[in-house]
């Protein structure tokens, strides 16, 4: 037997009776409550759309801040460098996964190059080691607020970009990595003198936890802008975004 069947025969009478039983002020109060109930349900609807528009507004501000930062960026300003005895030991491992989940890149690895470049040939590690090598000791600043000093060595990225005939008037350089990480940077930062395509850490071949076979190291950018395990580099005019950037971290992410 359904509930409806129980109540159906007397439903109208019951409602009439209850109505009679309710005195006027009580009815008014009931009406008021119903109204406020409606108001509350409308409010929740409002809150939902508000949250979306708040997020939208915050993202607009983040894009505005990208613009402010690229305007502030002075290609001739160098990040401070430090002495060997100031190195942070051990240098912390950091990724979007734990240290036990590192997927080492294969040894027969070749770096791919694509996009707005003249030469799209692949690069072996030995070919990259044949470039003039530089090293520098700089401070890695994480978006979380901590910082650590490390020594990275490798090829000046501007030199590499020149060699592959990259269009230096293009806006972005994008990176695809072996661990499915991806990010992108602005061309002025790519051409900055301290931006290195690093092959070593503390004068040793880059170990797996620091991004073997190569990491792009920029002391002018926060940690999440410095890709490790790089597999492919491409030059483009369409902003490729990034793993964290697409989730809300500021795209420029520079200091």
């Amino acid at each position: 037997m359904s509930e409806k069947k129980i109540f159906n025969p007397h439903e109208k009478e019951i409602i009439k009776d209850v109505y009679k039983g309710l005195d006027l002020p009580t009815r008014r109060l009931f009406g008021k409550r119903a109204l406020s109930l409606g108001a509350i349900s409308m409010l929740t609807g409002c809150t939902l759309t508000n949250e979306d528009s708040i997020e939208e507004a915050l993202m607009v501000m983040s894009r505005f801040n990208d613009g402010v930062q690229s305007w502030l960026f002075d290609p001739n300003k160098m990040a401070p460098t430090y002495s060997e005895d100031m190195l942070t030991k051990p240098f912390p491992f950091n990724a979007f996964y734990g240290e036990d989940e590192i997927r080492p890149s294969p040894d027969n690895f070749k770096l791919k190059v694509s996009g707005l470049v003249q030469d799209t040939k692949d690069w072996t590690l030995d070919e990259l080691r044949a470039f003039p090598q530089t090293s520098q000791i700089t401070r890695h600043i994480c978006v979380e607020g901590w910082s650590a000093i490390g020594k990275w060595g490798g090829v000046r990225f501007s030199e590499f970009l020149k060699r592959i005939g990259a269009d230096s008037t293009a806006k972005f350089v994008g990176f695809r990595c072996h661990d499915d990480y991806y990010t992108s940077i602005d061309m002025p930062t790519a051409l900055h003198a301290q931006t290195l395509l690093t092959l070593t850490y503390a004068d040793e071949v880059l170990p797996p936890k620091y991004g073997y076979p190569m990491k792009l190291r920029m002391p002018t950018k926060l940690g999440y802008k410095n890709p490790k395990y790089i597999q492919e580099i491409f030059v483009t005019n369409v902003n490729p975004g990034g793993y964290w950037e697409d989730q809300g971290y500021n795209w420029f992410g520079g200091s």
């Binding site: 915050l58 983040s62 002075d74 300003k77 978006v143 607020g145 901590w146 989730q247 500021n250 200091s255």
Partner: protein, 172 residues
């Protein structure tokens, strides 16, 4: 600014404690950073307008100066005795003058240390002034703490002398 800042602090605390989630805004670090770097403009633009108008009109000299040590001692003693008078609300007493000047200075330090953290490469002088990147975070935290202290005392004072609220809003 403060609540999103507490969430950013929690991502990598400088001291041996974290702030409870209820005091923070943004949901996660990325969200808190979005709030912080959007609302910083409100603080900066308001601050610049306030300082410009104050110096341009000379209000800053009329309202906050002179500060005499003698009057300060008198005002402190009167406060302790619960006898500090507020006959003319448009004139600040010495404690008010010092409190407002110090919070103005504090906000300048707050913004400068924030800038040293955000743009440590672009503003090397500011970075050095703050004692390096890591220390700039400590300065930023200390300046925030002072601002919170000021806000709490300020609210307490308004609660004790409610008639000041009207003049604060109207300006007369």
């Amino acid at each position: 600014m403060i609540m999103s800042g507490l969430k950013i602090y929690n991502a990598s605390p400088i001291f041996d404690f974290l702030f409870p989630r209820e005091l923070t805004v943004g949901g996660w670090l990325g969200g808190a950073l979005l709030w912080h770097f959007a609302f910083m403009w409100l603080l900066v633009v308001n601050g610049l307008i306030y300082l410009t108008l104050n110096f341009y009109t000379g209000r800053v000299w009329k309202k906050f100066f002179p500060i005499s040590p003698k009057e300060l001692i008198k005002d402190v003693l009167d406060t302790l005795k619960g006898k500090l008078a507020h006959e003319d609300l448009s004139k600040y007493n010495t404690i008010q003058k010092l409190a407002y000047l110090s919070v103005i200075l504090d906000i300048v330090v707050l913004i400068a240390s924030g800038l040293a953290i955000w743009k440590s490469v672009q503003f090397p002088i500011l970075r050095d002034l703050m004692g390096g990147f890591d220390n700039a975070r400590v300065v930023h935290f200390a300046a925030m703490s002072f601002a919170v202290f000021f806000i709490l005392v300020h609210l307490l004072m308004v609660a004790l002398v409610p008639k000041t609220l009207l003049i604060m809003i109207r300006g007369k």
